[in-house]
């Protein structure tokens, strides 16, 4: 089979719940069924048209093993092909893409969700850490991001003020995004003086965990054209994983994110990533966001802050990105929902009209794993 024989894969529709600090009055299944129902609405597609369901969630966060088994009804998976991916929803989408591109299925629903408010994120991240040498020392989410941020600032001679500027901009954008519940929007001063959690990082430099769910309906070109007048095409994707051991990773940059992006760009035939109209990227800290932006080629190494400039050709994180709302396991797929929604004209985040978008998601402790999608209309 040559690439010429592959079926083109379109995003028909997508939907998310409101991203909230804590959805105290709803279960996972309630969030999931809301997102799935909303994603199917208006497409003319019913559950009987859906060939398969692929979903991303975490057994550790959910507090039950093989938790997808208990969520099948809400996902519409009865007697369907169903698979669980214990990674961000973008990885689920990559498998969904391949099933359709290869011709083995026509319509799929990709779901990602989490309710970090029900569990301890500290325990979740600690459970990701190697248990003999690293966990006993106390390496966790904040300290891993702190070490990474310290290396980034040192390698490139970047001032730590940049971190607060990046976070403040993210919050400002999120405040204008009706999908993110932002009762209080911290300003630059509040961010720069928030409590130190892992130097050089302060509390508001780290992403804020949020509860929520997202669902994306994908289909073959033929079905996509029939189901929506605004299909968004997946033009490429790639993923790449780095060493689990922090000390083995390159200081100051994300080579795995770069490798993932290069794979996606090669498939999409993109030579200059600054030609994308929109970029939606994920990050657990403000420093990590700068490193992602640089790895994707939207800025030179150490110059990530320049990508936020109003004059930059690519509008970066018009949704606010992951810092104000990190739905662990779903953050990357929410970025894709945001980007696809804007390309299709379903969502307006003030980025103007765009015909292509770049989407990034991450997984593992301090972004060990990266996945990149490219979209076009």
């Amino acid at each position: 089979m040559t690439p010429h024989d592959y079926v083109r894969v379109g995003i028909v529709s997508s939907a998310q719940t409101l991203l909230k600090d804590a959805w105290d009055d709803l279960q996972h299944v309630d969030l999931i069924s809301e997102a799935v129902s909303e994603a199917l609405r208006g497409t003319g597609l019913g559950m009987s048209d859906v060939d398969f369901i692929i979903n991303s969630g975490s057994d550790v966060l959910d507090g039950r093993s093989i938790s997808n088994c208990g969520f099948l009804g809400a996902m519409g998976a009865h007697h369907k092909e169903e698979s669980r991916v214990e990674e961000d929803g973008l990885w689920s989408l990559s498998y969904a893409h391949d099933k359709i591109a290869s011709g083995s299925a026509r319509v799929g629903v990709v779901i990602a969700y989490s309710k970090p408010s029900e569990s301890s994120l500290t325990a979740y991240y600690s459970a990701l850490v190697e248990p003999f040498y690293q966990r006993p020392v106390g390496l966790d989410h904040a300290s891993a991001h702190g070490l990474q941020a310290a290396q980034y600032l040192a390698v490139h001679g970047v001032d730590e003020k940049e971190l607060s500027v990046v976070a403040a901009r993210a919050w400002e954008r999120a405040a204008a995004n009706s999908s993110v519940d932002t009762p209080q929007v911290p300003g630059l001063d509040e961010i720069a003086t928030s409590p130190s959690v892992a130097t050089p990082l302060r509390a508001l430099h780290l992403s804020r965990p949020r509860d929520g769910a997202v669902a994306v309906v994908v289909a073959s070109e033929q079905v996509a054209r029939r189901s929506t007048s605004n299909p968004v095409w997946i033009s490429g994707y790639g993923s790449s994983i780095d060493s689990q051991v922090l000390g083995e990773r390159e200081p100051g940059s994300f080579p795995a994110a770069k490798a993932a992006a290069q794979r996606a760009y090669a498939r999409a035939g993109v030579s200059d990533p600054r030609t994308f109209g929109i970029a939606e990227v994920s990050a657990g800290s403000a420093a990590a966001e700068l490193m992602v932006v640089e790895a994707l080629g939207l800025a030179e190494p150490g110059q990530g802050a320049s990508a936020y400039d109003g004059a930059a050709s690519t509008v970066l994180n018009p949704s606010g990105g992951a810092l104000p709302a990190d739905v662990v396991m779903a953050t990357g797929l929410i970025r894709l929902h945001e980007a696809a929604g804007q390309l299709a004209g379903r969502l307006d985040r003030g980025a103007g009209s765009a015909s292509s978008a770049l989407v990034h998601g991450a997984g593992g402790l301090a972004h060990q794993n990266h996945c990149v999608f490219t979209l076009e209309v």
């Binding site: 279960q27 309630d30 020392v137 310290a150 990082l201 051991v245």
Partner: protein, 307 residues
């Protein structure tokens, strides 16, 4: 009883739960040797002659080529390459003299001055616990960089296993459907389910979407506390998280007025009589005393055969 879903939910909206996971971790040769040698104040690394690569602490396989590494004596001095200070401690990446990549550990002593480029030396714990923390951490101390030629080593009686335990705490939300079920149990000692408007099955516990046809349910109905035994198994095995002492009879019961199988236990008879149970026999709920009601399915002590 037929009722809408808009009835205000009760007050009990969360279930506290803990999952305790006991493990016996297998260390393998490199980790076992490294941790065992810490008791005699020795730091162990590993060396790949093909890649000329040295890892400290020791790893079994080379990250460069995947080949097996040999164990070596490592220096206990090095240079800080990165540091982060949290409210609890300062974590360091330390380039041990002769190593190819930095080691992660704690700083012993004040954070001031512990910056990249500063020389450090190992601090050994007073009391050893067969953990990596038998190396307590590193303190700032001037020293010349040690020679880097690797010297092969072996560790006698290296540990092979490490006991470990992970405890995870949760606060699970009931949501409107389970919340209503539990409220009905607590206040009225009755069970409710949700009928599917499309395929007409009645689901217990109630839920927003039909499991089979994905139609949205719109109301709740009361179902009976009597039903039919659909499946059972006599459990003799003990396992983590068990709430009853074996032997007991696990059962799936289809309540009268419902279509789904409710998982519960059977009781009210000597365990030897379990062989007389038959699938399809009628059963009924035996409720706990009202004073013990907690608004959960455990308010039903067990189901007993109706004879």
């Amino acid at each position: 009883m037929t009722t809408g879903l808009n009835t205000p939910p009760g007050v009990s909206q969360k279930l506290a739960a803990t999952i305790g996971l006991p493990y016996t971790l297998t260390t393998g040769k490199a980790v076992g040797s490294t941790i065992t040698a810490l008791a005699s104040k020795r730091l162990t690394g590993s060396y790949c002659s093909d890649c000329q690569r040295t890892n400290v602490p020791a790893q079994d396989y080379c990250v460069g080529c995947g080949g097996e590494m040999s164990l070596i004596e490592a220096a206990d001095t090095g240079t800080i390459t990165a540091a982060t200070t949290t409210p609890e401690h300062t974590l360091l990446l330390v380039q041990i003299d002769g190593a190819s990549s930095p080691l992660l550990h704690r700083l012993v002593g004040p954070a001031e001055g512990a910056v990249p480029g500063v020389r450090v030396r190992a601090v050994w714990a007073d009391e050893t616990k067969a953990l990596f923390l038998d190396l307590e951490g590193f303190e700032v101390a001037d020293s010349e960089a040690a020679a880097s030629s690797p010297v092969d080593t072996t560790v006698d009686d290296a540990m092979k296993e490490m006991p470990y335990r992970l405890d995870l705490d949760y606060q699970h939300s009931y949501g409107p459907y389970y919340g209503r079920l539990f409220d009905e149990l607590a206040h009225h000692r009755r069970l409710v389910g949700s009928p599917c408007p499309q395929c007409h099955q009645v689901m217990v516990p109630p839920r927003e979407r039909c499991d089979v046809c994905f139609a949205r349910t719109t109301r709740l109905v009361e179902v009976q506390d009597t039903g039919t035994l659909q499946a059972f198994s006599i459990v003799h095995l003990e396992f983590v998280g068990q709430t009853r002492t074996p032997p007991y009879v696990y059962a799936e019961v289809v309540l009268d007025g419902s279509s789904t199988r409710l998982i519960h236990v059977l009781g009210g008879f000597e365990i030897e009589k379990a062989r007389d149970l038959t699938i399809g026999m009628p059963v009924r709920a035996v409720w706990k005393d009202a004073s013990q009601a907690q608004g959960t399915l455990a308010d039903i002590e067990y189901f007993e055969p109706v004879v």
